[in-house]
């Protein structure tokens, strides 16, 4: 029997906020595929609401079930410090993904590198529209990964392409209508707008509608993907989307959680025995991102991917 094998009934939980969001679907598929490969049980848990107290409650309820480990997307980092530490004390190991709680004792953190995404997007924009043009961003203040994608791109532009001019910066909070309105206004104020960077797909849908209506020629780039923006990419209305490798995130997330729960497999060359921490510590795993363009768009149809698969 391989050591990479679960005991019967050994269960791993993936806990998220806004649990009906389609982003989690491929992540959980990856999580499940890894678990099946190793004969482990999985549970998808969390709260449907955008509510930190509810997510903490669901996390604490997960502990009642005595799982071997939890792959957690903490909605906010600091409020989870205490619950994560309590979980680890009670013998449930925790790995974070997509958002972190760095001050806690979680064993590992797996995510896509938002800075790398932003750098890639900036270079692509400059490549397409030149290094002295006007660009705008939509944003979603308060959600850290979206924030990072936007602020990093702006900072990168300022540093490397000082002639790129940021002419619009609007908060649209993933709301299609708000994005429509904001983009229409930005277009009004800036007829020479050449490119727009959007850190998520919901706003991109509104932005593309506004740009099509105004018959403007604006390069749209966004992160994440939805069926609608995918169609727009195929039609050439959206230039390109950067999508985190969700499946890898889930798959590697499971493995990291499994490892955290089985520290006895490993005797590393360090001080873990005296300091008492889990030897499976991994500060950061990058799951990478995919670049979606007209050419490869067909491979990113989530509805097609999910055909015949169980979302739970």
């Amino acid at each position: 029997n391989s050591k990479f094998q679960c005991e019967p009934g050994e269960t791993y939980i993936m806990n998220v906020m806004v649990s009906a969001h389609p982003y989690w679907v491929p992540v959980y598929q990856g999580f499940k595929q890894a678990a099946e490969a190793m004969g482990c049980e999985t549970i998808f848990s969390g709260t449907p609401d955008y509510d930190i107290t509810k997510q903490i409650a669901s996390f604490e309820q997960d502990l009642v079930k005595q799982p071997a480990g939890i792959l957690l997307h903490p909605m906010q980092s600091d409020p989870f410090i205490e619950p994560i530490n309590r979980a680890i004390e009670s013998g449930v190991d925790v790995v974070t993904f997509a958002a972190d709680s760095p001050k806690s004792k979680r064993t590992a953190y797996i995510t896509s590198d938002n800075l790398a995404e932003a750098r890639f997007a900036a270079e692509e924009i400059v490549k397409q529209v030149g290094d002295s043009a006007e660009y705008a961003v939509l944003e979603n203040p308060g959600q850290s990964n979206h924030d990072l994608r936007v602020t990093a791109l702006i900072a990168y532009m300022e540093q490397n392409y000082p002639n790129m001019k940021l002419v619009g910066r609007q908060a649209t909070n993933q709301d299609t209508s708000a994005a429509y309105r904001a983009t229409a206004s930005i277009l009004q104020a800036n007829p020479n707008l050449a490119a727009i960077w959007i850190p998520e797909a919901g706003s991109a849908e509104g932005a593309v509608a506004a740009i099509l209506e105004a018959k403007a020629k604006v390069l749209i780039m966004h992160a994440d993907i939805t069926p609608t923006t995918l169609e727009h990419i195929k039609a050439g209305n959206i230039h390109m989307a950067l999508n985190p490798n969700q499946g890898v995130q889930g798959f590697m997330g499971f493995i990291a959680t499994y490892l955290a729960a089985h520290p006895d497999m490993f005797d590393p060359f360090n001080d873990y025995k005296v300091s008492g921490y889990n030897p499976m510590q991994i500060p950061f795993i990058d799951n990478g991102f995919a670049v979606i363009t007209k050419e490869n768009a067909d491979s990113f149809d989530l509805n097609k991917y999910m055909e015949g698969r169980d979302p739970n």
């Binding site: 209508s177 429509y180 209506e213 939805t226 039609a235």
Partner: protein, 338 residues
């Protein structure tokens, strides 16, 4: 709930003759304060930004509130009858989702839309049933329906937006086309507003809505079937959400299960700014639409001026507060004068 200031009804007033008379009548309208505030905003903005008073910008601003405006119409009528509906956002999303799923299942988009609007009417009727037959409060019933309808959206789509790229162009025309220079969306919106504004002022059917909302007992004593009235206004409001959902679908070419979260507060705020009372009996479509315009113009203007996101909320809230305060005072003076 409470209003300290009294408001008047939307009852049409007899017209005095002549231009002076017409002017006086206009100055006597409840909406004059709101119109003044919106004009002021327009004047300030056209100095602040050279792009503001362009046709394209006006068109974009109108597009931004036109569809939600249809929901505002339904909400206003419901508020006048003494009800309230928190489920408008979810039901609008549900209309998209139902029509989208049916379309993907092979129905032609018109049939799919018709079925979807019928489903919304059925949801409204169910809410009306719980309110009028069981005796629960609109607030709690529509809150439950808000949650349930959102759940159905998620269940139907797995939380993923439905891409409806294959919608035929004549259907997309509803949401994206233009009649001459005027977008179809705006035409539909204007027709809906004028029709309901007229009906609410002039028809016996809708006057009963005012009576019911103003004093349900008095209306019932006068032989009006107040429960039927409330049932119908509740149903109508959901039906108009259905219509709005279909237009959004045609416009965005997709059905979004998470669409319209928080829409209810915006819609109710528009109606209240426009003079509708949360305790029923008072309100006009015209005023409510002005309220919606005010909210939308403020948002669009802040975006046009590229105000820092961190300041936008503060400015938006303050303008809202200032506008209702000014409107309140203008209204008070006007009443004294007339």
């Amino acid at each position: 709930m409470r209003t300290y200031g009294a408001e008047e009804t939307g009852a049409a007033q007899r017209k005095p003759a002549g231009i002076a008379g017409a002017l006086r009548q206009m100055l006597g309208m409840r909406e004059v304060g709101l119109i003044a505030i919106i004009l002021l905003l327009f004047i300030v903005m056209s100095f602040a930004s050279p792009y503001f008073l362009t046709w394209v910008n006006m068109r974009a601003m109108a597009m931004a509130f036109a569809v939600e405006g249809i929901v505002v119409v339904g909400m206003t009528i419901l508020l006048i009858s003494g009800g309230i509906d928190l489920s408008v956002g979810s039901v609008t999303a549900l209309a998209m989702v139902i029509a989208g799923l049916l379309f993907l299942a092979g129905f032609d988009p018109w049939t799919a839309s018709a079925i979807s609007i019928l489903a919304c009417l059925a949801i409204g009727a169910a809410m009306g049933f719980f309110v009028t037959r069981i005796g629960l409060h609109h607030f709690i019933v529509s809150l439950a329906v808000m949650v349930i309808a959102r759940g159905i959206c998620l269940l139907g789509t797995g939380g993923r937006p439905l891409g409806l790229y294959t919608l035929p162009p004549e259907f997309k025309f509803i949401g994206q086309g233009s009649l001459g220079v005027v977008p179809v969306v705006i035409v539909i919106f204007v027709v809906v507003v004028i029709a309901f504004d007229f009906m609410l002022r002039k028809t016996t059917m809708f006057r009963k809505v005012f009576y019911t909302g103003s004093n349900e007992k008095a209306a019932a004593y006068s032989g009006i079937r107040t429960k039927k009235v409330v049932f119908l206004t509740t149903t109508l409001c959901s039906g108009l959400c259905g219509v709005a959902g279909i237009i959004y679908m045609a416009r965005f070419g997709s059905a979004q299960p998470t669409f319209g979260m928080g829409m209810e507060l915006n819609v109710i705020a528009a109606a209240v700014i426009g003079g509708a009372s949360l305790s029923g009996g008072v309100g006009t479509i015209f005023g409510a639409i002005l309220g919606a315009i005010l909210l939308s113009v403020v948002s669009s203007s802040l975006a046009l001026l590229d105000v820092s996101v961190y300041w936008q909320d503060i400015i938006r809230g303050s303008i809202l507060l200032a506008a209702v305060t000014i409107d309140h005072f203008i209204n008070k003076r006007r009443k004294q004068r007339v």
